[in-house]
């Protein structure tokens, strides 16, 4: 019971409600407390990651009765700690970046309060071991994100936020429906307990229905292709730090993470569901990239590219599931899942960085239209260099991290005999390179027509970008076997060994 993991939720939540009170006295309170708090969480989560600790926590101290869990459980294992690390690191850098950027807008206190609320919700989603509690935290984080998308209160922001909310609400209904169906069938809400009950039941039609509902609900939050309609609007209209959070962290923490957690640790997955997930991933990868080519708005391009990159992540997990469900070699599944996890970490870093760069460009030039920009590399060297790094990384050019994670996924696809998927992954990677070269050329190189006198962005903004570009290069070390064993492999093990998760919760 010595575990302190509820602090991941309590601290940001308390900060979110302290800001409106103390923030009235001085504007700098919100600006400084948010990065400080997130830095503390950052250090704490990295310590937990390196010590590879597994912790279970019962809120309110409701001990299990006859081995049946009755309380709300918070579960920390190697997979969730990885996501917690991403949330805190990107959250810290983004909040630091906002120091200058957000003084553009009025009511900065509200921004920081909502930001902390979003972080608290995401941490809760990741830690929760209880499916309804997970839904509550999910709603906390997405409601905060609805408000943050509409933060600029212009025409576009409001319209995007309304669309996002309508679709997001429908997703929440689907999730709530599937939760009630699961409760109906199993009479429990704890993920590990549900999993134990489901292993003995054989009502496959019911299970498939629930699984499809869950995929569509969380798929909408994760912006997989048939459910992607909100993402370009919401990402392009939100203030840039928020887009970086949405794209870098939110769609992973509340979308991909939950799908993966539920399908690996709760359901006994079947071959069909695994194939559905792989096909959805492939579709997202291709269509996202094709839609991105023709965009002239920087942030819309990045948003579509997010869809495509989420596709890669889903493919990795999907191939792992297919191999495991067919009883194939575990080593291939391990490779695929490790690649997907690696790409998840990488995508958070480079997509966050790209949105921050887009924000820097917008901060100085007040436009996102690539037709009007050009030749900014001379005046904005830091922004230009870091966005070049991120672009090369996302399109999979060697020493950068994106290359290695994509390579691992493609190798796994070939080994699992998904030759078509592997081929398409390579093609999409080339398309990605093409549209990022276009982005680079139109924005940072070429002729500078309109913006001869722009300056480099202030320190707070450039600092975050530099740290992220260093991370882009530095994360490549995760392919070195000894480091991979420390960070990625425990997470993969928790996913493929269902019993490990169940034992951690039930026998606590």
């Amino acid at each position: 019971m010595d575990s302190l993991i509820p602090l991941f939720v309590i601290i940001p939540l308390a900060t979110a409600f302290l800001i409106p009170i103390i923030g009235k006295l001085t504007i700098y309170f919100a600006k400084t407390i948010t990065p400080v708090v997130l830095l503390i969480l950052c250090f704490y989560s990295i310590t937990l990651l390196l010590s590879n600790s597994k912790e279970t926590y019962i809120v309110g101290g409701w001990q299990p009765v006859e081995d049946i869990p009755i309380g709300i459980y918070l579960v920390l294992d190697s997979f969730s700690i990885l996501i917690l690390c991403i949330i805190s690191i990107i959250g810290f850098l983004v909040s630091f970046y906002s120091f200058e950027y957000i003084s553009y807008y009025t009511s900065e206190n509200n921004f920081y309060a909502l930001f902390c609320l979003m972080i608290a919700g995401m941490n809760g989603v990741v830690l929760s071991g209880d499916i309804f509690n997970l839904f509550v935290f999910l709603e906390i984080s997405v409601i905060a994100s609805y408000a943050l998308v509409a933060f600029g209160v212009g025409k576009n922001e409001l319209e995007a936020s309304f669309k996002y909310q309508v679709l997001g609400n429908i997703a929440s209904f689907l999730i709530l429906l599937s939760i009630s169906l699961l409760y109906w069938q199993t009479k429990t809400l704890n993920i590990a307990d549900i999993s134990e009950v489901l292993q003995t039941s054989d009502d496959s039609a019911f299970l498939k229905f629930t699984q499809v509902l869950l995929i569509s609900g969380f798929g909408l939050k994760a912006a997989i292709i048939p459910f992607h309609a909100w993402i370009p609007d919401a990402h392009s209209s939100a203030p840039s730090p928020v887009s970086a959070m949405l794209s870098g962290v939110l769609i992973k923490a509340v979308g991909v993470y939950v799908i993966i957690r539920l399908f690996f640790n709760m359901f006994v997955f079947t071959h069909e569901i695994a194939m559905v997930i792989t096909v959805l991933g492939t579709l997202s990868m291709i269509i996202g990239a094709l839609l991105a080519i023709n965009q002239s708005d920087i942030k819309r391009l990045l948003a579509y590219s997010s869809i495509s990159q989420i596709g890669y992540i889903i493919i990795g997990f999907g191939i792992g599931m297919v191999v495991l469900s067919k009883g194939g070699k575990v080593s291939i599944a391990v490779l695929a899942i490790a690649g997907a996890l690696f790409h998840m970490v990488n995508h958070a870093v480079f997509k966050g960085l790209l949105f921050l760069c887009a924000g820097a460009v917008e901060y100085r030039t007040n436009t996102r239209d690539m037709g009007q920009l050009g030749g900014l590399a001379e005046n904005m060297p830091i922004t230009s260099t870091s966005s070049l790094g991120a672009s090369l990384s996302i399109s999979g050019i060697p020493p950068f991290n994106g290359f290695f994670s994509k390579l691992i996924i493609i190798i796994a696809a070939v080994q699992a005999r998904f030759y078509l998927v592997a081929f398409l992954a390579v093609v999409v990677s080339i398309i990605t390179l093409a549209y990022f070269l276009k982005f680079q050329k139109r924005v940072f190189y070429g002729v500078n027509k309109n913006y001869k006198n722009v300056k480099e962005v202030p320190f707070a903004m450039s600092f975050s970008m530099i740290v992220l570009v260093v991370l882009c290069l530095g994360l490549s070390i995760l392919v070195i076997p000894s480091i991979r064993e420390l960070i990625l492999d425990p997470a993969v093990n928790t996913l493929i060994n269902m019993d490990q998760y169940i034992n951690q919760v039930i026998q606590y």
Partner: protein, 112 residues
């Protein structure tokens, strides 16, 4: 079972409204209808024939109680629903201020 089907029909009523109405406020109302049909369904999950309210005092050993957990879940879900509805209404009013209309056919800045 009849009630379950009725609540499915209520869900479809909400969905129909969501798809066919063009007024922002009516869309919000349709979403609320869908949401409440789900709440009723969740309530039915915990219902037991002849069950009484689960305030356990220990006086009647043979009493059958309804399942209290779905009720707690609905209460939480209602709070969440309140927050989302308020958020949607706030955005709808703001949109009205910008466009002077609630008609979604007029509000189409974002494309592509």
């Amino acid at each position: 079972m009849t009630v379950n089907i009725l609540c499915f029909i209520l869900f479809l009523v909400g969905l129909y409204g969501l798809i066919t109405r063009r007024n922002l406020v009516k869309i919000v109302i349709s979403l609320s209808i869908m949401e409440f049909s789900l709440f009723i369904f969740l309530e039915l999950v915990g219902y037991i024939d002849g069950g009484i309210a689960p305030i356990i005092t220990g006086q009647d050993a043979n009493a059958v109680y309804v399942d209290p957990l779905p009720q707690a879940m609905i209460l939480t879900a209602i709070v969440i629903g309140l927050a989302t509805t308020a958020m949607l209404m706030a955005i709808a009013i703001r949109l009205y201020r910008k466009y002077k209309t609630f008609d979604i056919r007029e509000i189409k800045n974002l494309k592509g």
